[in-house]
């Protein structure tokens, strides 16, 4: 019988069945459930698959590479912006190549449901010159993942799987297959493979370049790239990944009259695209994310425009695809009987009732009224909700860790008070190095670590910071007199305001840890946290 699985879960099951030995990840919507599925899987536990969270995407990917070096199959999972964090190792491990199969899974978020941009990871795959796989449905999530490990080991390269939110977070029936055995430890055959000093790296890079025709040939023959010959040659359609489903939705029983090339493996297969160009009047490209395919196959000046899609304006340039914007591009009239009544108001996300961030922002807002020059640099996670009403406490929000470092730069420019607000897990992910910068230069900034002891926004996963913040800050060299712990509760409001004000007035770096467990944490975890809260700084 079929199992009902999210795209993310189907992928995770595919990895287990491919003989995985370790998954490494930092939580991030829409990718989180992949690792969680493996963490909860009984089979994965029996197989001793390593599945705990890493501190960030870079450490996750490097750890996965270490497991691959040892000969075992590993996977690293992240959301699209996480790949920016891991880009250093990502770009270099395509040069070194891998030993045990290594699959990089990246979930993009077109329409930015839970993200600050809609960057398209396919560009990263192309940049690193490795194969990219893009499943179109839940069954393909399973099948493609098993195939990805095989492809990775055959080529000796990491393989990128690209997902999008709607596939990650949609369920359907999936048929699973046999489980392939895990690898035993075996070291790389070529001893210089992983030694990327220039004299070895040049050889490895040449090898990667020389592999490109093989990678293209594999893609040309891939069972995941399929061509359907239609009779109506007025349009030839290229649909990648999930776009294929939205296309077929527009035709009764999926009977599309136009030739369709479904793409789920890259590099782009040249032969079928050339065939479409030769036989069709126009080419419509349907792809979720950036116009990656459209750009690759359009003529440079756009004067001979035969290719239409997001760049031509036939599909909106931004936002995710859906059956309706594809229907528009096909020239179908969409019948909408009802419009959205005026009475319906937006309902943005907000902090939970009983959330400690709430009381922290209340204190910060009182101080804002005292000092018109106060600037608050925010960070990613639940604390980012301080941007919105009713708080409006935060002036900036860019990416993981930028609160502390932007506060340093603004302080250098003459801003005072410069306050950074960062969550505990975001701090260990990307904030610690910035704090060291500030400590070295004694920059007059106030860093508030809003410590709810969870990676809250993605579902209250374990935070690497739990119980370690005081030790970390002291280790980095913060002065003990300017390391404070507060409890953000309404009854402590005045006391907390006074402590923060004192630290703002200090002409050096201060760290205030605002400690109150996330309300989403189960009781047993909250109880465990009591063991280290109220620990004195000295």
């Amino acid at each position: 019988m079929k199992k009902l699985l999210l795209g993310n879960e189907a992928l995770a099951q595919g990895a287990i069945d491919a003989g995985l030995s370790g998954v490494y990840a930092y939580p991030g919507t829409p990718s989180t459930e992949i690792t969680e599925y493996i963490q909860k899987s009984k089979i994965a536990q029996e197989l001793n698959i390593h599945a705990s969270w890493s501190v960030n995407e870079k450490t996750a990917m490097e750890t996965a590479l270490g497991m691959s070096y040892a000969g075992k199959k590993s996977m690293v999972v992240m959301k699209h912006v996480g790949l920016n964090v891991a880009a250093d190792v990502f770009m270099n491990m395509s040069v070194s190549g891998i030993n045990g199969g290594l699959v990089v899974v990246v979930a993009d978020d077109p329409s930015m449901h839970s993200s600050q941009n809609e960057q398209d990871s396919r560009y990263y795959g192309k940049f690193a010159m490795i194969p990219i796989l893009e499943p179109s449905n839940q069954q393909e999530c399973y099948d493609i993942t098993k195939y990805a490990f095989e492809l990775s080991e055959n080529l000796g390269l990491p393989v990128l799987i690209r997902l999008v939110t709607r596939l990650s977070h949609s369920r359907s029936g999936v048929t699973t297959g046999e489980r392939i055995a895990q690898n035993n430890i075996h070291l790389p055959k070529i001893s210089t493979q992983f030694q990327l000093i220039p004299m070895h790296a040049r050889g490895r890079y040449k090898h990667l370049v020389d592999l490109q025709p093989d990678i293209l040939e594999i893609s040309e023959n891939s069972a995941f790239n399929t061509f359907y010959e239609g009779n109506n040659k007025t349009i030839g359609i290229i649909a990648s990944g999930i776009a294929y489903n939205y296309l077929m939705e527009n035709f009764e029983e999926g009977n599309c009259p136009y030739p369709v090339l479904k793409i789920s493996q890259y590099p782009l297969p040249k032969e079928p695209i050339k065939h479409l160009f030769d036989t069709c009047e126009k080419i419509l490209v349907l792809e979720d994310g950036y116009p990656f395919i459209e750009e690759a196959i359009s003529d440079f000046l756009g004067e001979n425009r035969k290719v239409i899609g997001r760049l031509s304006g036939d599909i909106p340039r931004v936002g995710e695809l859906n059956p309706d914007n594809i229907a528009n591009a096909l020239g179908f009239d969409i019948v909408i009987n009802e419009n959205l009544p005026k009475v319906v108001l937006g309902r943005p996300p907000q902090l939970c009732i009983g959330c400690g961030h709430n009381d922290l922002f209340n204190a910060i807002n009182v101080l804002k009224n005292e000092s018109a020059t106060q600037q608050v640099f925010g960070d990613i996670g639940c604390s980012a909700l301080g941007v919105l009403s009713p708080y409006e406490s935060i002036n900036t929000l860019i990416e993981m860790g930028s609160s502390i470092t932007m506060a340093i730069g603004a302080s250098n420019a003459g801003i005072h008070p410069a306050i950074a607000v960062i969550g505990d897990s975001t701090f260990t992910h990307s904030g610690m190095t910035g704090l060291l910068d500030a400590i070295i230069e004694k920059t007059p900034i106030t860093v508030i670590i809003s410590d709810n002891s969870a990676i809250a926004m993605t579902g209250a996963q374990d935070s690497a910071a739990s119980g370690r913040l005081i030790t970390i800050c002291k280790g980095l060299g913060i002065e003990e007199d300017h390391l404070k712990v507060i409890t953000p509760l309404h009854k402590n409001l005045q006391e907390n305001i006074d402590i923060i004000r004192d630290e703002i007035n200090y002409k050096g770096v201060s760290v205030i840890i605002a400690q109150r467990p996330c309300v989403q944490l189960p009781k047993e975890k909250k109880d465990k946290l009591k063991e280290y809260t109220n620990v004195s700084i000295n």
């Binding site: 019988m1 079929k2 009902l4 999210l6 919507t29 829409p30 989180t32 459930e33 449901h113 839970s114 709607r166 596939l167 977070h169 949609s170 369920r171 359907s172 029936g173 999930i242 294929y244 489903n245 939205y246 296309l247 077929m248 939705e249 527009n250 029983e253 999926g254 859906n322 059956p323 309706d324 229907a327 969409i334 019948v335 909408i336 009987n337 009802e338 419009n339 959205l340 009544p341 009475v343 319906v344 108001l345 937006g346 309902r347 943005p348 996300p349 907000q350 902090l351 939970c352 639940c382 909700l385 009403s389 009713p390 926004m457 993605t458 579902g459």
Partner: protein, 196 residues
């Protein structure tokens, strides 16, 4: 005649629409039907507007999202959230909602205005599902009352629904299973009275 239905489930993060989705999925799977069911994880779950598209068919289902104007039913745990998805409703499609507002935003609309908008649709079931659930001694079963109210419009047998409810609540014990079955049947009964 093919079995095919598109349902949108609506509410605010934390109101339990995924439980309704899970019951529909389980019942459909039990009938060997195809399913696609999208859901919302991440930022919107924190007190924001959330929705789930549930598609059930004996034919292949392509899109994970329901096209505009193609939803047969919208089931909502909150009256304003119901109206958010009106552009997806099919002509003569059904609106089913709890009447209790979840007021976590400024300027939440007047309830009468919301109710009038809902009542302007011929096919609507507007009930105080929360009260019905409370009267049955399980205020958490508001969502199950609403599912019961929608059930006669969904091409799945009562038996499959009840089996799915029993399966999903099994871990919580017999009493909770019984309470939820009761909530389902009460919702069905009240909807039948309203529609007749």
């Amino acid at each position: 005649m093919h079995t095919k239905i598109n349902i949108i489930l609506a509410g605010v993060g934390g109101q339990g629409i995924l439980t309704i989705a899970a019951i529909l999925d389980t019942a459909a799977l039990d009938n060997h039907l195809n399913i696609k069911q999208s859901e919302v994880h991440g930022m919107s779950q924190r007190g924001g507007a959330v929705q789930s598209h549930v598609r059930i068919s004996d034919q292949p289902i392509y899109s994970d999202l329901i096209p505009q104007g193609k939803a047969d039913i919208i089931i909502s745990v909150e009256p304003m959230e119901l109206l958010r998805y009106l552009p997806f409703l099919k002509k003569d499609g059904y609106l089913i909602t709890d009447s209790n507002p979840f007021e976590n935003i400024k300027n939440y609309p007047e309830l009468e205005t919301l109710y009038n908008e809902i009542k302007s649709h011929k096919n609507h079931i507007l009930i105080d599902a929360m009260k019905i659930a409370k009267d049955l001694g399980n205020s958490k079963a508001t969502n199950i009352v609403l599912l019961g109210a929608a059930s006669s419009l969904i091409p799945l047998s009562d038996e499959s629904f009840q089996k799915a409810i029993a399966t999903l609540f099994e871990r919580k014990g017999e009493r909770i299973v019984a309470k939820n079955l009761e909530a389902f049947l009460k919702g069905k009964e009240i909807a039948a009275e309203l529609v007749s």
